[in-house]
Symmetry: C2
Subunit: 587 residues, 2 copies
């Protein structure tokens, strides 16, 4: 069953959560017109549904191949990429000065949700280009911007991020790739990078590598890494392509999923590159790439979850097994309450994750563009807080959601080539790359919670209580119940936050042991809040029934657990701390 | 890293939970001697660790193949199976009268946990033979027993279960395979069966199919199915093999995991078979096979979870990333609290699942062999209650546990050929086959809870409260805390049970919508109870520290959530009921 973009859910989320109207009111998006939203989403849906989705099972089966000439993309993707460029999709949210369309970020998120939902392996290629573009925008020289940005933003070239080395994964500071000055302003880069997504392919004429490496006199660790840009083909002054640079893909990984996304081992042998940003400040530049990539990986979780939901609904409507009282013969399994529970769990979690991701994108726009400095500052803190939730919570839920998708399919779901299986396998990478979800949890419990003594989280909790008050004002039993659920869940998050703030300074190992549960709880509460908020905003509109159903189920199934989760957070951490690895101590 | 059987954990569980001493005291196991346990486990470990585990990655990569002559087992498995037979492992818990060793069931569970942990795809072959043996033991004629049992119990032949058809999965009553009387006491079976595990292979001279089919005049639905036995090669009066029967494997499924276990499409074309049990009573006979298989699939969940844990521990001790305060250089990731949390979660859940499965096997032995009728009856009710927990809870936890195993490995875990990935992929079938976990939940909430008005569950809850009282008597803060956790969790299960009993009669759809959460909660509480009970029993012994750590972590991380789960159970079900599938109503 083909993927079709969930246009009504996306439209709802853009309006109710991302608040495109508020973004437009900043005046920063002169090209934006509310009338544009529907046609943009419909055009993107055509690309996703008609071009990319049909190629997804084929890519899963065939994968990318490494030939003598380099990596060959899976069948059909080169042409699909051509159509992607032709539609101008790459530049949606980038500055007009460099050929972009200067539209709000959530609109780009909506489009890329569709692209990932239709074909996550394909979507990874622009995802990595985003990182490259943002690094050059933020840290590149004027010349670098002039050479690379127009063609990256048009999609004519793609970008890739070269961070990981065999000994340097989560601990990127351990990297050893070297960059030696050539004396002409360029550097000679040598070393091996692994897990380089779309590090090579045949879909475009050029590929722009952003590479972390170490200068000869660099201090050890993360304070000694610098960022370089190295094109596959050098760019002549007139913009035409010259000689080939001396790096190449020497191997492709055999992965569980995203087979059509080439995961390259890249070898750099005195490859020529140029410094981006300052010497030894590569970590900061890397975070520019990573923050964008983290939100986009969270979005992948939303997208693949949505695709799994659609496949689950279609199968559950089609597959007949068992009967219901008072009816003869077998019924579609969607009639069975346990199947309805699975589908509702999928739908509510996907929508909560979508809301978190779009809200994160909206916060980024406000942080960048709002006229008022205090508003910008608060939005930046909100974006920083939501980023680990967008990445960590959404992708953990993607595992749960795609797992339920397999389960609904029964034996068929275990067959390696069904769509449900592909989604399950593709989804599995999302909690790992761009910072494992453990790293996200530590980022939340450490860096993000310590900003302003927990100010960003306190503001978020206050927002949840405010929503609860507003919902209670509707004076209907359903909204009253939602309001109480929100209040109690916010209380649970508040006490967990107090525990985290205390332990992260008094007894850091305990705090770290609780971090993943804290991220889970925070995502549950914020996600439930957004769902309830959407239901409230939509209460007199056409999208009210679906919004209320999702908010209400999520409150019942998830927010009702918040007090228990908060208790497990501290009690579990105490037990980890007490055990202190004793079970696996060396003899 | 090679699998090694967790002999100390298994020994602990056999002693503290399965209570081999109590089983021996029934007098039903004259061959059993407590001194035998250690050498049996050690010999089984040799088979598992030295023979089966090394073949596991190869089987994952190569899989079984279908040739013109039939199915060819993955490399090395034929010889491994020969060693398995030679060890006499197949007959451990079967009656001496048919060549078995007449030992307690938990001892066989312990051995088969090792076999599945080392090579789950291989372990499935004897697992299916178990079902065939038990069906013939319970329902076969004397002649059928004489012909088939000795060679099935020795392992010289294997058995397979032919239930599923394309239109008849969970709803086995929808099957249409036909069995027409030949007039000589045999039947001509025609039809297609799918998902037949080890339905064909080249490891033994003969394969005995147990086949569900429909007699010509059978009523529709599940009251019209009968069970037949059909050997691949007919057995002559002298026991030698004659002509080949007319069924064959016409295809192998391409699956996510268990690649070395051939999943066959079987075509029956007037194949000759003989009725097992009474006409149209095939469903009862099927449940004989299924109950055994359900416990054994639960055991697979334990086994593959244990294997994932071992791989996770080994990787976490080896892989160095990041630093800890006060130490120079990078440390093994097992030093990081978040990794310790993942490993403890894996270990505690695996051990809880192991306890549930072994307790279920012990209850089956008591139910069959105890001298006292009331004790037998209570044990039967306990076995019936524990079976859906053993199957459903253990395999859901296997997904969680193997998922954490992948996560600990980071990017390496996503590579399709690492052990962590194989365990994740192999584990995914366990919540599906032998009755999906949704079916297990309905079995628990329906059949099992309605026995004696919830008497078996009430007895279990009383047992948890009793344990809590005993633990409080130890008068140490750690045990006091465990005791309180148990009491509160038992209260949560009690209120959830009251909700289930009420709704399953008043408003069945609500009860069914809550069933999966109920199974989860019941498994959490019973598992936590067994862990706490073990810690109590071991409190002055050498195994006390590990037992207390696991019990304590599980109480903190899982039992602390019980009240929240109970609340989500009812609130979630109410929301499913209120939504009534409205989100996906046809336009």
């Amino acid at each position: 069953m083909p993927y079709t973009a969930p246009v009504s859910q996306i439209t709802h989320t853009l309006a109710r959560i991302a608040r495109l109207d508020e973004l437009a009111a900043t005046g920063a998006f002169p090209n934006f017109d509310a009338e544009l939203v529907a046609p943009i989403l419909e055009e993107a849906n055509k690309l996703a549904r008609d071009v990319l989705a049909p190629l997804n099972p084929l890519g899963h089966k065939t994968g990318a191949k490494l030939a003598d000439t380099g990596v060959i993309a899976a069948p059909g993707l080169k042409d699909a990429y051509r159509q992607f460029i032709a539609g101008g999709w790459m530049g949606l949210a980038f500055p007009e000065a460099w050929g972009g369309q200067g539209l709000p970020k959530p609109l780009a998120l909506a489009v890329f949700e569709m692209i990932h939902g239709a074909n996550m392996a394909f979507g990874l290629c622009p995802l990595l280009s985003f990182g490259a573009i943002e690094a050059i925008l933020a840290h590149g020289t004027d010349e670098q911007k002039r050479i690379y940005l127009p063609k990256l933003i048009s999609g004519e070239w793609t970008g890739a991020m070269n961070l990981t080395e065999p000994q340097a994964g989560s601990d990127v500071g351990a990297l050893i790739t070297k960059a030696a000055p050539n004396g002409d302003g360029s550097y000679a880069i040598s070393g091996q990078k692994i897990y380089i997504t779309w590090g090579d392919h045949d879909m475009t004429d050029n590929i722009i590598q952003l590479v972390l490496a170490r200068l000869p006199d660099a201090p050890p660790g993360s304070t000694g890494i610098s960022l370089f840009v190295a094109p596959k083909f050098f760019v002549k002054p007139d913009g035409s392509l010259g000689e080939r640079n001396s790096f190449r893909c020497i191997g492709l990984e055999h992965k569980m999923g995203i087979h059509a996304s080439p995961t390259c081992v890249m070898e750099y042998t005195n490859a020529k590159g140029w410094l981006v940003g300052e010497e030894n400040k590569g970590l900061a530049a890397m975070f520019t790439m990573m923050n964008s990539a983290r939100l986009n990986v969270g979005l992948e979780g939303v997208a693949v979850g949505e695709a799994a939901l659609q496949a689950g609904v279609a199968y559950a409507k089609d597959r007949r097994q068992g009967s219901v009282p008072g009816e003869k013969g077998s019924v579609p399994i969607i009639r069975h309450p346990d199947v309805q529970r699975m589908l509702l769990t999928m739908a509510a979690n996907v929508q909560a994750a979508r809301a978190i991701c779009y809200a994160c994108g909206a916060a980024a726009d406000i942080a960048e563009h709002h006229q008022d400095e205090a508003t910008r500052k608060a939005a930046k803190a909100r974006e920083d807080l939501l980023t680990p939730l967008a990445k960590g919570w959404s992708t953990d839920r993607a595992i749960d959601v795609t797992n339920l998708g397999v389960q609904i399919h029964g034996g068929m779901g275990f067959m390696g080539e069904t769509a449900a299986a592909q989604y399950y396998l593709d989804a599995r990478i999302t909690p790992i790359y761009e910072g494992t979800n453990g790293i996200q949890a530590i980022d939340l419990a450490g860096r993000k919670l310590s900003m302003d003594g927990g100010g960003a989280m306190r503001a978020m909790i206050a927002e949840v209580h405010d929503s609860a008050r507003e919902l209670a004002g509707v004076n209907e039993p359903g909204f009253l119940h939602l309001s109480q659920s929100l209040d109690q869940a916010a209380d649970a998050l508040e006490s967990a936050t107090a525990y985290m703030l205390a332990e992260m300074s008094a007894n850091r190992d305990k705090g770290l042991a609780a971090a993943t549960t804290y991220l889970r709880l925070a995502g549950d509460v914020v996600g439930g809040h957004f769902l309830a908020r959407s239901a409230y905003e939509a209460r007199d509109a056409a999208d009210s029934a679906a919004a209320f159903t999702l908010a209400s189920y999520f409150a019942g199934d998830t927010l009702a657990r918040a007090q228990g989760t908060a208790r497990a957070l501290s009690e579990g951490a105490e037990a980890v701390f007490a055990a202190a690895g004793s079970l696996w101590a060396d003899d």
